[in-house]
């Protein structure tokens, strides 16, 4: 942790050191360094899935924890996610080719009337950082838009975000419609947004309220594990 090794040559590091260095580089949002390291690990014969889980997801988990604990804030997380994205862009086609296991799939969007997509984007990025496939519907989604996407994408999880007192009740409109159509139990519904809380999430019929992007990832993983257990048991 001294400053004397300013000029680290990434290719000179052994695998363990390089992964540790990638944790640092993700934390600092250094996209080019992450891309270079991903290439180095690929050249060394690492499977794309191993790079994703051990290096990128590992590094983003640290970012997520410090975000959750109020040590990092949105600007730093955006930079980290951007660096992660650089690495993912290299890995994505390779992951598809190699038939790597799927963590889960999420459809996410802010509800009608709400353009505050910063939190939603963070959740999307952190979910991708955790290995999930994310379909982002963007902002201002009416109930029809959510239903169409659920039909087309068949995700495991529906994520809804609202930042305003004037838009948060709309989440209930979407959930009520799912219930009416008998589809509610097909999806894990996670909700988030600054004015929300646990009790609100429960009252509108969501599976969980997620305080921030890091909690969203933890909650999603937890529900996916339960879903797998249920399928295995059934």
């Amino acid at each position: 942790m001294s400053d004397q090794d300013d000029d680290i040559i990434l290719a000179d590091l052994d695998d363990d050191e390089l992964v540790q260095q990638m944790f640092d580089d993700l934390y600092d949002g250094l996209k080019e360094e992450i891309e270079e390291s991903v290439h180095i690990l690929l050249e060394r014969g690492w499977a794309p899935y191993r790079i994703l889980t051990e290096a990128l997801v590992g590094g983003m988990t640290i970012v997520g924890k410090d975000f959750r604990d109020g040590i990092l804030f949105v600007p730093e997380v955006l930079l980290a996610a951007n660096a992660m994205k650089g690495g993912m862009a290299i890995l994505k086609p390779l992951l598809a080719e190699t038939g790597a296991p799927r963590v889960g799939k999420m459809v996410i969007g802010t509800v009608k009337g709400d353009i505050h997509d910063i939190g939603k984007n963070l959740v999307g990025m952190m979910m991708e950082g955790a290995g999930f496939e994310v379909v982002d519907l963007g902002i201002n989604n009416a109930v029809e838009k959510y239903l169409e996407a659920l039909e087309a994408e068949q995700p495991d999880i529906l994520g809804m975000s609202a930042l305003l007192t004037t838009t948060m009740p709309y989440m209930k409109v979407v959930i009520d419609t799912l219930v009416e159509q008998g589809k509610r139990d097909e999806y894990i519904v996670l909700v988030g947004g600054a004015p929300l809380n646990e009790e609100f999430g429960k009252a509108i019929g969501a599976d969980a309220y997620c305080r921030d992007a890091a909690v969203a990832v933890e909650t999603a993983k937890d529900f996916m594990a339960r879903k797998h257990n249920r399928l295995a048991a059934g």
């Binding site: 260095q21 640092d24 509800v111 353009i115 009740p169």
Partner: protein, 336 residues
């Protein structure tokens, strides 16, 4: 420069601002997801009622129904071309209401965030942000607002862009940020960061402070954070009436009128001059706040313990000021 607002600031010990806009409009039938600003045009009678109820409950100052009235926000509803017009109408209705009273009532032209992330992290450039804020400012000015009122800001870049825009409109202004993430704004700004930033602006606000966020206790901790910086600039406290709960299809905030009365007095004693509510603060809260400010004598500055005792616990252990200035936890092997 003197106007009705600066005169009030100079002569009064405290000023009671208003409460919620969204929560009140919901109760009048606003549908979730719809733009409240459309009602300026479609239901001016309801907006007039919104303002009137606040003033009747004791508010010296109220915010216009223009929080989302900038082009970036109205774009959602296909109304990006109506930012100036809808903002102007919101202030015209406000002017009309304010001038009916025989005591001074201030019309504060509400300006909310664009909802976008500013460059280089996001797509919104400084120039475009200034243009968006300037357009809305001109509308509010035309409609007769006494002062512009920037609120619920998270990013210092956006606060600075608005300051520049308000100078172009040649209007006095106030501006608050929302400290909703472990005592900081979403972008990580602490109360002491904001106090320092405000003093460095080329066009500083007449008053600055905090609004919305997470409940009344957190907001007062933020006020104490401003005061600790020793600025002489008047401070604004506009906290939510508790935490939102969902009851029978309606959002209800759990802070009672009596709790908000205690909050108002504590806010004054903590050093705030302009005191109001935000989400969930209804006319019955404002009446109690007014009565408490008028009847209870000024007390010593409250401690954090006294605040939590009266209003409930904080949402986070620290708020990033004083001993809580967090450093990255990871030991670094290389500097960026």
């Amino acid at each position: 420069m003197t106007n009705a607002f600066t005169k009030m600031l100079a002569t009064r010990d405290w000023i009671l601002a208003d409460g919620a806009t969204g929560t009140n409009l919901f109760n009048m039938g606003l549908q979730s997801g719809d733009a409240p600003e459309m009602w300026n045009d479609q239901h001016p009678d309801r907006i007039k009622r919104l303002y009137t109820e606040a003033v009747d409950a004791g508010s010296d100052l109220f915010l216009t129904n223009s929080f989302g009235g900038n082009a970036a926000r109205l774009k959602l509803h296909g109304a990006q071309g109506r930012a100036r017009e809808l903002s102007r109408i919101s202030a015209e209705i406000g002017r009309d209401v304010a001038d009916r009273y025989d005591r001074p009532v201030i019309v504060a032209g509400s300006v909310g965030p664009t909802g976008e992330i500013m460059a280089p992290m996001g797509a919104l450039t400084h120039e475009l942000a200034v243009e968006i804020f300037h357009e809305q400012a001109e509308g509010l000015k035309e409609g007769g607002a006494d002062v512009l009122w920037l609120e619920t800001i998270s990013a210092p870049e956006e606060y600075k862009a608005a300051a520049e825009a308000f100078k172009l409109a040649d209007m006095p202004w106030c501006g608050t940020m929302s400290f909703d993430t472990a005592g900081r704004t979403m972008m990580g700004v602490t109360s002491s960061d904001m106090a320092a930033m405000v003093e460095k602006l080329g066009n500083p606000p007449l008053a600055y402070g905090a609004n919305c966020g997470v409940g009344a206790s957190d907001l007062l901790r933020t006020i104490l954070g401003f005061v600790a910086q020793g600025s002489e600039r008047p401070i604004i406290a506009k906290g939510n009436a508790g935490i939102p709960k969902y009851h029978d299809g309606h959002i209800h905030y759990d802070g009672t009128p009596d709790l908000m009365a205690d909050y108002a007095v504590l806010a004054r004693d903590a050093g705030a001059t302009i005191i109001g509510g935000c989400c969930g603060t209804m006319p019955e809260h404002l009446s109690k706040m007014r009565a408490a400010l008028e009847s209870r004598p000024r007390g010593p500055r409250p401690t954090l313990d006294q605040i939590t005792e009266a209003l409930g616990g904080f949402s986070s252990g620290g708020d990033g000021t004083g001993d809580d200035t967090a450093a990255p936890r990871r030991p670094r092997r290389r500097r960026a």
